[in-house]
């Protein structure tokens, strides 16, 4: 099977399942009695295991399998949920995530998870040891899905093992399940087991045994054990060979028929339908047969499963959307031409048609643009788990409220916003929320709250992180900023509280007196500020001491469309992003002052340097333009202002942002390009580069 083409789908779906695991685990932690949630987690884990085994990521499949065993034990009420168990399961999910990310980055998904596996095993066996050994240990407990086969099969198999067993038959191997019973009075059980295995390994491959080989070697079993085995020998010969081992009471060799598996695999198809449809088409055909036996559970599953994947969606490569957008623009440009032709010709029917076409295209444009929108949920949903872990590490009590996760943002923004949010939430949890003792002393509830909310407002999306923690210590921040030379004594006198708060975003600033493992590492919040500004957004901080802080991020709805002011220099048209512009004005020659070889103007009492774009961009000019006036666009970068001198203003327009491609990179003061209504390319001025 050609697996590469499914890799992307595998990665996406694995992430989704892990996400679901994480979410449900958090839910379960709140309601540890709710076994329905365990089943949900189990199902996600189970699907993940099946997928990763099919894709050949054995480490991934193996760890999931171990985790699944624990979940299964919980589900069957063999073990009680404790916070230790939660920690280990969370740890496993973290490992699994790392593995999946590794695969996504082109790795092989291998990772040293020995410690976690041991812990999982301990949890699993800790409980089985307490119950009578090996009578019905958790591992042998058939999964709900395979229950119907319980009568036929002594062992339960996960998807990976099933695949191996199924494939063995394609290579002329026969799959057997062997039951070996030792005599009651057997003295050296381990030795007999060894001999049995030696014979088996000479004649084929052992796929699985119950109890596990380790436990067999430690004699941790009664008198019977089971082995799943593939071999080219026939059953009778095998039986005879094994009977030669002394102290063996009886040997039963049963062939495992394929259809036993196809049946049980289909039960999973309920959950992993979309994967299975493509990977193993045959199972779909077998599905109806399996359904009646599955009925009660299936209906249960499907109602819940559909609740998650709900509305029908398909995954579309973002590049295809970009292509669609490009084509659409071409169409829009042609529409412009048609409109002008129609107005020249002035033909009634033509006018009408062109007008109707315009309207349809308006709707089409809306749809094309909204196709790139993704709910912020995809970013937000990783935070509950993170906060949980952080609060444990820091011995704090914290709840995270997420509001407005359905708010939609452009995919490109979503991809970028995750890391800054991680930083800010860590900051709130680490520096914001106080320890339970401090909180009690301050008369606050022991449990701190961090609220993460998102909402639309105008052409922007706001994401806010509010905590009811200690707030920002104005004096400490100021002292630090002064000591680091970020502000001068003079400046500090006129600063507002808000400005002081925002000093923590300045580069080279870190308020933590002790650099903690959580938010320290020398990475400051300045990175957050830079990232957000590079997305065309900005961040502000409000904070009241001992009451809490609010970090507010304002982001444009989409990065692909921005509002610009089109300006003209000689015959060239440039676009200046509206987000940088404060205002435009016309100045006289006599308004221009000279200060140290730098031309400046007095703009509302401020000295603003002038930047002649014509010189910066070396615009070829045929004749000198001199009418005594200059058109100036006042732009800002942070607190700094500059006046960009151009020939004339054309007007404000929404444009679709385009990159200049991989050949032209890092061009001074140009951040990209756009295509104008007449089909020509106009360059976008990077105002930030023009100001030091």
């Amino acid at each position: 099977m050609e697996l590469n083409q499914y890799l992307e789908m595998f990665i996406e779906e694995s992430k989704e399942h892990l996400q679901a695991c994480g979410e449900h685990l958090l839910e379960l932690e709140k309601n540890p009695e709710d076994l329905a949630i365990v089943s949900e987690i189990f199902r996600s884990a189970h699907t993940l295991k099946g997928m990763s085994a099919t894709m050949g990521f054995e480490d991934l499949a193996d760890l999931t399998h171990k985790m699944e065993n624990v979940l299964d034990a919980i589900r069957n009420e063999k073990i009680k949920v404790t916070s230790e168990i939660f920690d280990v399961v969370f740890e496993s999910v973290d490992h699994l995530e790392e593995m999946v990310y590794d695969i996504a980055n082109g790795g092989n998904g291998k990772r040293d998870v020995q410690l976690t596996v041991e812990k999982l095993k301990l949890i699993e066996s800790g409980e089985t040891a307490a119950t009578t050994v090996a009578s019905v240990p958790a591992i042998a407990m058939p999964n709900a899905e395979t229950k119907m086969d319980a009568a036929k099969l002594k062992l339960s198999y996960d998807d990976f093992e099933k695949t191996v067993l199924l494939q063995s038959s394609e290579q002329d191997y026969t799959a057997y399940e062997i039951t070996v019973a030792l005599r009651e009075d057997c003295l050296l059980k381990a030795a007999r087991v060894f001999m049995v295995f030696e014979i088996l390994e000479k004649n084929g491959d052992v796929i699985k045994s119950h109890p596990t080989v380790e436990r067999l070697e430690e004699e941790q079993f009664d008198h019977e054990f089971y082995v799943a085995f593939i071999s080219k020998e026939n059953a009778e010969d095998l039986q005879k060979m094994l009977m030669k081992v002394s102290e063996v009471e009886s040997v039963e060799v049963n062939e495992i028929h394929q259809d036993v598996f196809t049946q049980s695999v289909t039960s999973n198809a309920q959950v992993e339908e979309h994967v299975q449809v493509i990977n193993v088409p045959t199972t779909v055909e077998a599905e109806p047969a399996a359904q009646p036996a599955q009925k009660s559970q299936a209906t249960n599953n499907s109602s819940k499963a559909t609740g998650h994947t709900s509305s029908k969606t398909i995954r579309v490569n973002i590049e295809r959307l970009d292509i669609l957008m490009n084509l659409f623009e071409e169409l829009a440009i042609d529409r412009g031409r048609l409109l002008s032709i129609a107005s020249e010709v002035n033909h009634g029917e033509l006018n009408e048609t062109v007008e109707r076409m315009s309207r349809t295209m308006g709707d089409l444009q809306n749809i094309v643009l909204t196709m790139r929108m993704v709910p912020v949920e995809t970013v937000f949903n990783r935070f509950p788990k993170m906060v949980r872990q952080l609060s444990r590490d820091l011995n704090k009590k914290i709840t995270l409220d997420v509001i407005g996760a359905e708010t939609e943002l452009d995919r490109t923004v979503i991809d970028e916003i995750g890391d800054p949010l991680v930083h800010l939430i860590r900051n709130s949890v680490d520096h914001g929320i106080e320890s339970p003792e401090d909180r009690r002393a301050k008369g606050k509830p022991e449990e701190g709250t961090v609220q993460l909310r998102a909402y639309h407002s105008g052409n922007y999306v706001f994401i806010e992180i509010e905590d009811d923690g200690a707030g920002i210590n104005r004096d400490r921040v100021l002292a630090k900023a002064l000591s680091k030379g970020i502000v001068t004594q003079e400046q500090s006198l006129t600063m507002t509280d808000k400005q002081i708060n925002e000093l923590i975003l300045a580069s080279g600033f870190s308020t933590a007196e002790v650099i903690s493992d959580v938010s320290g590492r020398g990475v400051g919040l300045d990175v957050v500020k830079t990232t957000i500004e590079s997305l065309g957004g900005n961040i502000s901080i409000d904070s009241t001491q001992n009451v809490g802080s609010v970090f507010s991020i304002q982001l444009p709805l989409t990065l692909s469309i921005i509002s610009v002011m089109l300006v003209e220099i000689e015959k060239e048209i440039y676009a200046i992003p509206l987000s940088s512009i404060i205002e435009t004005s016309i100045i006289r020659n006599t308004d221009i002052l000279n200060a140290h070889n730098q031309k400046v103007i007095d703009f509302r009492g401020k000295v603003v340097p002038l930047v002649f774009l014509e010189e910066i961009f070396e615009v070829p000019r045929k004749e000198l333009k001199e009418d005594g006036f200059h058109s100036v666009v006042i732009v800002r970068k942070g607190d700094k202002l500059a006046g960009l001198v151009v020939d004339s203003f054309i007007g404000q327009q929404e444009i679709v942002l385009k990159s200049l491609g991989n050949y032209l990179t890092n061009i001074f003061a140009i951040s990209g390009a756009t295509i104008l209504g007449n089909g020509k390319v106009a360059l976008i001025v990077d105002c930030n580069a023009l100001m030091k």
Binding site: L327, F617, I667, K680
Partner: protein, 148 residues
């Protein structure tokens, strides 16, 4: 297999620049466009003419005459932009005219005769003699990478 065939018979696009004929493997050519409006991009190398709107994709354009430091000529009716794709780059070459699509026998490709002092030489992967025509095969990597 495919490689062997390709090596034996190389399909190329032939174009004219000043008085010489050059060739680019057809596998790297995405299209040949008529001259269209080029937007100048400031602060770039002299041979970068600017960018064009290639069906919604902003594509940089290089003037090959300038790149090879040949005498500059006015744009003619025959002037074409050959769109080249190389790895993840997409670039247009302004050429005097695009003439032909030809199959070259790889055995007829020879090393460029060593001539000292020719800048062009850097960009040349080899020359092919075809009857009485001499085709200069371009080294696209070198043409697209700034020399300095």
């Amino acid at each position: 297999m495919a490689n062997a065939v390709e090596q034996k018979n190389l399909k190329v696009i032939v174009f004219q620049l000043a008085d010489k004929e050059y060739a680019i493997p057809v596998s790297h050519v995405k299209g040949i466009e008529k001259l269209m409006h080029i937007t100048r991009v400031p602060k770039t190398a002299r041979f970068v003419k600017g960018v064009i709107n290639l069906r919604g994709v902003v594509t940089p354009v290089i003037d090959l005459r300038e790149r090879f430091e040949l005498p500059i000529s006015e744009n003619e009716e025959t002037t074409r932009i050959i769109i080249i794709t190389l790895e993840t780059m997409e670039v247009g070459f302004v050429v005097d005219s695009a003439n032909d699509v030809l199959d070259i026998d790889s055995e007829s490709i020879e090393q460029q005769p060593e001539v000292v002092g020719s800048l062009e030489e850097e960009f040349i992967a080899g020359v092919a003699k075809l009857d009485n025509r001499l085709l200069i095969l371009l080294h696209l990597d070198k043409v697209l990478n700034p020399l300095d």
